[in-house]
């Protein structure tokens, strides 16, 4: 087991910079998830750690050693590929043994490890089969088994669940969690699925455009996004953004003019937002932090018209049109009786409001919210 350290890592392909100077500390025994849209550089980063690509610049450390010039098999890593990459002409047992045989592991150790891993993953009955005779879920287990028998310092997983159907994916996700609990091997995991990222990670690294946008515990990153990209990427349905002009009302309180109405800015953000007085500011609010207000208009309650009702079981997602003309989403109680065309009053939860600079996309309230969290 080992920690992994990336220092100013750069990878260029011809004119394209896939990884643009990222630095990250992946603690020993952690489960770190790289998440981001396609082409954000997350898989390239994983392949750089694996030794399947050579870094253009920067440093990769596994344990205390710089491994930039080491070949893949000298890095003490095991990888699980998106398509599993099982050797089709070998049986499950031979697939699991191959890596150990290549490393001249003694026969008794190989047998013991294969048996143990097969038991752990409940694939004892499949050992003599060829990969083509297995279901997707079983192939997935074999790929994991092949990684486990190596007993590597680091597991690298490249979207390992994306080829499974929805139900199996949820099941395997839980098993991966359990497996990590049991083995405690440092794991670096790549996915574009934010639910996977949130449920599996101790540490989540949101990537875009070859750069890490934010790193932290999943819940922290979710509730305190550093910029609009992170805010919009995590969460489904994603965060609503409402643009407005910051001004002071007659009582001297900050408020956001969002067109036909105004939105009161909570007092604690006075310091951060003051310099934006008279400028455009983006208000961010997650759909689940919007509720239907029964008591009529009050502070930060906005009238709106329901356009679409999407019952999703545990919640109902409403697409509502504000009086300003903008459409936003609200996730409300599934028992709601509102229907298309109804007029409703939306209440924005004041503790969940975020403010962003529309030019840079940076959060204006990140520092203050992080502090609040720490003091709390």
């Amino acid at each position: 087991m080992a920690h992994v350290e990336l220092n100013d890592l750069v990878k260029e392909f011809d004119d394209v910079t896939a990884v643009d100077g990222i630095s990250l500390d992946i603690p020993d025994e952690s489960f770190t998830v790289f998440v981001g849209p396609s082409g954000c550089g997350k898989t390239t980063t994983l392949r750089l750690i694996a030794g399947l690509e050579r870094a253009t610049d920067g440093e990769i450390r596994i344990g205390d050693e710089v491994v930039n010039d080491r070949r893949a098999y000298e890095r003490d890593i095991a990888m699980v590929f998106q398509n599993y990459a099982l050797y089709p002409h070998k049986t499950v047992r031979e697939n699991m043994r191959f890596g150990l045989e290549q490393h001249d592991t003694p026969e008794d150790v190989i047998t013991e490890r294969v048996t143990e891993a097969a038991e752990l993953l409940q694939i004892q009955d499949l050992l003599e089969r060829k990969p083509s005779e297995l279901s997707g879920g079983q192939q997935q287990r074999v790929a994991l088994g092949r990684a486990i028998v190596r007993d590597p310092a680091v597991f690298l997983m490249d979207e390992p669940l994306s080829n499974l159907d929805a139900k199996l994916r949820v099941q395997m996700r839980a098993e991966l969690n359990k497996l990590h609990e049991e083995l405690s091997t440092t794991t670096v995991y790549v996915t574009h699925d934010q639910v996977e990222a949130m449920t599996l990670a101790d540490q989540i690294a949101v990537m875009d455009d070859g750069q890490i946008q934010q790193v932290g515990a999943p819940t922290h990153v979710y509730s305190n996004p550093r910029n609009m990209f992170v805010a919009g990427f995590l969460g489904s349905p994603s965060m609503n953004f409402i643009e407005g002009t910051l001004e002071r009302d007659s009582a001297g309180k900050l408020q956001l003019d969002i067109g036909t109405e105004t939105h009161d800015v909570p007092d604690e953000f006075d310091d951060e937002l003051e310099s934006y007085l008279g400028d455009e500011v983006v208000l961010g609010i997650r759909p689940e932090n919007i509720s239907l207000n029964q008591d009529g208009i009050a502070a930060n309650v906005h009238p709106a018209t329901v356009q679409v009702v999407e019952p999703q079981g545990e919640k109902t997602v409403l697409e509502v049109g504000l009086d300003t003309g903008q459409t936003i989403k609200a996730a409300v109680d599934p028992d709601t009786t509102v229907q298309m065309g109804d007029s409703v009053n939306l209440r924005f939860d004041r503790d969940s409001l975020q403010y962003f600079d529309p030019q840079t996309g940076e959060s204006l309230t990140y520092e203050s919210k992080s502090e609040q969290k720490l003091t709390a």
Binding site: A50, G51, R71, Y73, A85, Y87, H89, F98
Partner: protein, 306 residues
Amino acid sequence: MSTKQSTLGQLIAALGLDTENEWSHVVRERLVAYALLGLYVFVIWFPIYFIFITSIKPTSAVLDIPISFLPTQPTVSNYVEIFQNRPFELYTLNSLIVASTTTVICVTLGTVTGYSFSRYDFVGNKTLLLSIVGARMIPPIALIVPFFSIMSNPPLIGGLTGSLYDTRIALILTYTFFNLPFAVWIMKNYFDGVPESLDEQARIDGCSRWEGFVKIILPMAKPGIAATAILAFIFSWNEFVFALVLTSSEQAQTLPIAVSLFVADDFVDWAHLAAGGMIAALPGILFGLFFQQYIVSGLTQGAVKE
């Protein structure tokens, strides 16, 4: 009659057909299809059958009228005589050596080259691949004179002298020239169908690139290799025109040439020609029968996404 009709009625019902009309329409379509297929099979196999029949007829009976299409006095004397009167064992040996050596060279070089083109992104690889495969597009007839000239006066390398004319080497080099582009093309396409993550997994498992190629990728490419081998072998075994021009004696002449030697200016030795023809045709027929599955899967690999 009535039982027959009701049985037919049941059958019609069982097949889910509405009326007898529809039934007879289906039968007619089937009959036409089978008749056409039968005709095709006949056209393909009749010449082979006829040569076989001729090869086991006594020499005196070959030109009998009416022609007999069934063996009346079967004999193996023609087969024995061609080995006794002519060096047919040498011709066969030449054919075997030329065809197998060409096959080994084409499969070996084709596999390694195909893999490189499939996996390595080096400068000019597309142009190189096109020019290799493009060389095969030149009609062979246009190359007979240059090949004759080169083989008769090969460029002197390392002080070697002498002509390659009338040697097996000349044929092996020529056939390799014609088959290698195919081999590279087939193998490149085959490897394109093998996910690159398998190479990468092999590297993570502790293989060098060469080891990964030999231990993981190559065993998966068996159908492609089989297809390449069969095509190269059959081409070299059957080739006639270049063998005719580049060889002149039994030290290099192959079976197709040997068979053609039964045709003299004013006389054709049909019985012996048929026996020689059967020997020459045998490997092709056997290969075709046993390995046709590999040819198909080898040539269509990567055509559809699985």
